[in-house]
Symmetry: D2
Subunit: 355 residues, 4 copies
Amino acid sequence: MAGSSIGTIFKLCTFGESHGIAIGGVIDGVPANFELDLEAIQKELDKRKPGQSAIVTQRKESDTVQFLSGIFEGKTTGAPIGFIIPNENQKSTDYKHLEHTFRPSHADFTYQKKFGIRDFNGGGRSSARETASRVVAGAIAKQMLASLGIRFSTYVDQIGGIRFQSTEFFDQELIESNLVRCPDAQLAAEMENLVREIRKEGDTIGGAIRCVIENVPIGLGEPVFDKLHAELGKAMLSINAVKGFEIGSGFSAITMRGSEHNDLFKTDGTTKTNHSGGIQGGISNGMPINFRVAFKPVATLMQDQLSINTMGEEVTIAGKGRHDACVVPRAVPIVEAMAAITILDFYLRNKSIHL
Amino acid sequence: MAGSSIGTIFKLCTFGESHGIAIGGVIDGVPANFELDLEAIQKELDKRKPGQSAIVTQRKESDTVQFLSGIFEGKTTGAPIGFIIPNENQKSTDYKHLEHTFRPSHADFTYQKKFGIRDFNGGGRSSARETASRVVAGAIAKQMLASLGIRFSTYVDQIGGIRFQSTEFFDQELIESNLVRCPDAQLAAEMENLVREIRKEGDTIGGAIRCVIENVPIGLGEPVFDKLHAELGKAMLSINAVKGFEIGSGFSAITMRGSEHNDLFKTDGTTKTNHSGGIQGGISNGMPINFRVAFKPVATLMQDQLSINTMGEEVTIAGKGRHDACVVPRAVPIVEAMAAITILDFYLRNKSIHL
Amino acid sequence: MAGSSIGTIFKLCTFGESHGIAIGGVIDGVPANFELDLEAIQKELDKRKPGQSAIVTQRKESDTVQFLSGIFEGKTTGAPIGFIIPNENQKSTDYKHLEHTFRPSHADFTYQKKFGIRDFNGGGRSSARETASRVVAGAIAKQMLASLGIRFSTYVDQIGGIRFQSTEFFDQELIESNLVRCPDAQLAAEMENLVREIRKEGDTIGGAIRCVIENVPIGLGEPVFDKLHAELGKAMLSINAVKGFEIGSGFSAITMRGSEHNDLFKTDGTTKTNHSGGIQGGISNGMPINFRVAFKPVATLMQDQLSINTMGEEVTIAGKGRHDACVVPRAVPIVEAMAAITILDFYLRNKSIHL
Amino acid sequence: MAGSSIGTIFKLCTFGESHGIAIGGVIDGVPANFELDLEAIQKELDKRKPGQSAIVTQRKESDTVQFLSGIFEGKTTGAPIGFIIPNENQKSTDYKHLEHTFRPSHADFTYQKKFGIRDFNGGGRSSARETASRVVAGAIAKQMLASLGIRFSTYVDQIGGIRFQSTEFFDQELIESNLVRCPDAQLAAEMENLVREIRKEGDTIGGAIRCVIENVPIGLGEPVFDKLHAELGKAMLSINAVKGFEIGSGFSAITMRGSEHNDLFKTDGTTKTNHSGGIQGGISNGMPINFRVAFKPVATLMQDQLSINTMGEEVTIAGKGRHDACVVPRAVPIVEAMAAITILDFYLRNKSIHL
């Protein structure tokens, strides 16, 4: 059953496989009469695209978005925005050897069993290439939110054992000042070295991303099921390779006492601490929202791996191709995009709270 | 905007405030012609209800569910099941002092600011009392899933610093053999002592719950947005006091290498390890699903706390009333209910994959 | 699959069978902080209830609504409004003879075949009794819309061959001044006589209802699929016994020429004619909305009818019980309720058109 | 708020304006592993396209669909099918004179007022060109339904005062044997003459389409709101220029008696008459479904018309361009497409009725 849409008012539906003609999407429920900066959207895509730096996959894709509808003389019309991102290396035969093979910890096995058929080229529909469409919608959402003063700071919090451990808001310039997108130059250098080392071994490594959102108005979130952090969690967990999500104090709250965890109010309604992560009872409280997302190590290795084929026979998969040793630097714009899509949707939902 | 429903085919809509006339819900999309065990549903409610043991809140509520529709001669008819759970201590005036006060880390402030009005009695709509309705729907879902062989094992994994750290499937009898619902008797005793101690101090403590689901058919989950673990995550994060969710390896995947994390196949299609937690590419792979949910310490303390009133003036909130020092033992049936609702919904969604 | 909900923001979910314990519903997405007139809601129910006059069914049901949640000190809180209407003659054994019989042009056959089980008492879930819950939600929607100046005029346009044929707005007093709810006293008397005559013969007769809505703001309706008249049409066609829907010129447009049908503008943006029925391109244009709904004759006759039983054998169904000879007078509040629910939902949806 | 999607499982989302780069859509929830006949899809588009015969608009558009995803080696994969139909005469400046003018009975006024901006070229998003995307999705649905034995017969029932008045099932060959798509050759000739005559006068004329669907399984439809005919009605009313919908006996039921209207059963469960139009209680009963759709005359005339501009001043709109004098012959494939989309969606929804 249909699972390719997200959002209730600001709604994204994506389509496309890794090696098909194009990927793309439709954004419906776009607020009308808003002037878009189309170049800024492309810049967001560039942050995600392969080949952008020495530490990411060297696959060649320009990831150029083409808008087909919903924009008139530079402004949104309220009609759905349809867009495509052509796949440039679509005719690749790199994957013919995978036609009858299930790669470990990929979605080959589950797609084959579920649908009885699968496009095996580059992971087909299960490829993280699909997230480029999310970045397009997220970039539009971010521009709209920026006009309301809502700002995002998303950065790499951890790669392997190297952890930054901050919940601060950092500027884009600082985050973009190094290849791993960690605001701490020293740790960033260590992380970069770790990624290079892991790559040399043909292996991969996990990581974590922190997202901080400032100036979110009080009142976003629709209890009891559509709590703001519940939908943020779903949005994050829908990103390829994500294994965990925590809001505010998150898993560290387990060992805390209430007397320590409670966020006491100041008289202006803000709180002295922010263990809540900007959300109480599922509704934003005006404090910065912050959450953390855990990514597993990429499943594609540059090493031989034992696996099985569709007949249930043992096979060896040779490590070849061009892949990321660590996905989190390129996942930063994806996390931010999904956060922006979610926040804008709840901003619009909140407009109908009163008559 | 409406946020009181969850599910797409098997759909629960809840209503009701903590101290109103009744809470309840409507379950729509119920598979027809299924014989229900109504007593078993009440037993699930009993696991969640206040006053069940010495270590939980001593508030008196019998939590008796009354079914109003959708069941005919003991069987589901396919029509929506409406039900109510009358509130027995509804006339309480315990909360009059909170009319103009915002309790720290509760939803008082955000509800007031969002809606411009709030039922301040016992937290009103934001009270965890609402989760009793979820337990009703979850109990029905569990009976249906049990008839398909799908079984749940949900237990307390951690209270404060005391951690069980297992991903095994344990029988109900073992889980129910102690007050904290931890399958390890030794650790359970320690946890119980910790809760008693914390309570004596008028304080509260966080915890974590593990849920393991066996015999889930291969193929449940609808990429790219409605991935099975993404919806499980949303379902869990929608429960009061939950701060984090992780599937399979979860946050521990951050520090792992791909060569270590990849789940290698056996020739029968099962995997040698289960870092994936039973889900790959957002679709169940037939291995046990397992996830972990982090709960913050209860915000209501039996201690004086500084706070503010609706005029922005400082006030002191006295610690009084009857509350849980640790919520996780009573949250076990809620986590299991939300898991069952989600799994049944995806089971039904998967039926339309082929013509 | 779940089909018991309507609306996207202002959302009604109903439950309950004709002879179960109670019918009821949950209204979610209710605008907050609105003072409700609860007596006025009950008055709307009274317009629909059986036994209200000599020309309708004499079945006894007081149809008293009980609100369970979402209302605090007389005002909506934004939380879902749960409500029930107890069934007073629920223990009836009038229907035992129908356990194995399919009544012609009822839903007995289709429910049995679809679900494999059916509550045969009084039509069970397929009974028009369910529409009482719609009247509750509609009455709330009407109060909210009235506060915005939006007013409804719903009346009987036709019974059998007797047709009023107006698209005017008439006051409630005039509509309620006779038993058939037709604003023309002369025609109303004729209609009433026709109904009495038909009833004497143990037969039934069809009819039509006109609904006119004034002061609808320009801009309601969400193309391309959720056009305002498309959702009004769905809402009407979901009412028991409805066979047709037409907006504005409706079926008479078939024989008209464009030069005659086009609604020319006045300089103030209103139009000289209103063949469009207040909606152009699926969006309200500020002119009165008017549509017409066709009802078939009630299927239950006070005559013997040949039919079949569940074994496929011929049986005779004796005409007995208490039923309406013509449903349209009692359907007036139902049509108006569904119209109000739809308009309010679109009013709320329209709030997110701009940032 | 987002209104560009229809369906719950088999779900179509469309985008695109009349004179933008391309129109298109995404179909999600497509049953997997089904072999598509891509040529047959294009043939359906050809039935709708402009310039196909002497009696329709002579605008040039090849309406060639390009599939971008969801199809692998000729088969559906279960992934969303993205497609585009490039607009070939997109650079037209024919509409510059309409930038500040509201055409009577078009959507110019309502779009401008609702969104505060509008693409005025050829009606922009409100153009019936959008329906080409529906025909693509409908053609796919029809192929799937055909594999289940479900067949459609859609034809022109009426143009102006000339009415066919049949509810029979006619073969495609017969329907396609004349330009107006009416199975009666004699009436078709009269209709064709009428259209030519009307066109000569620079005027337009309304019409009606009948759709008959055979071999629909018993059990499709989800009461109480998502009744099969309610969703068919919505689907039809969402088509440009549609003013009315009736199922089975429709508006003629108003003057019928119950004793005449009731469909008596045969012992095999079929009925002797079919006033119900194949649907009882909102659920298909296995008899042929038949409904009728009323279309208003096209609003664009080849005559001068008085109107207003955006400043509220009177202007004269000159009749020019290439338009249909009667839309119903080209609307036949659109009605059939929307019917097929709806039936397939309910077919898939019905799969989750039992565990």
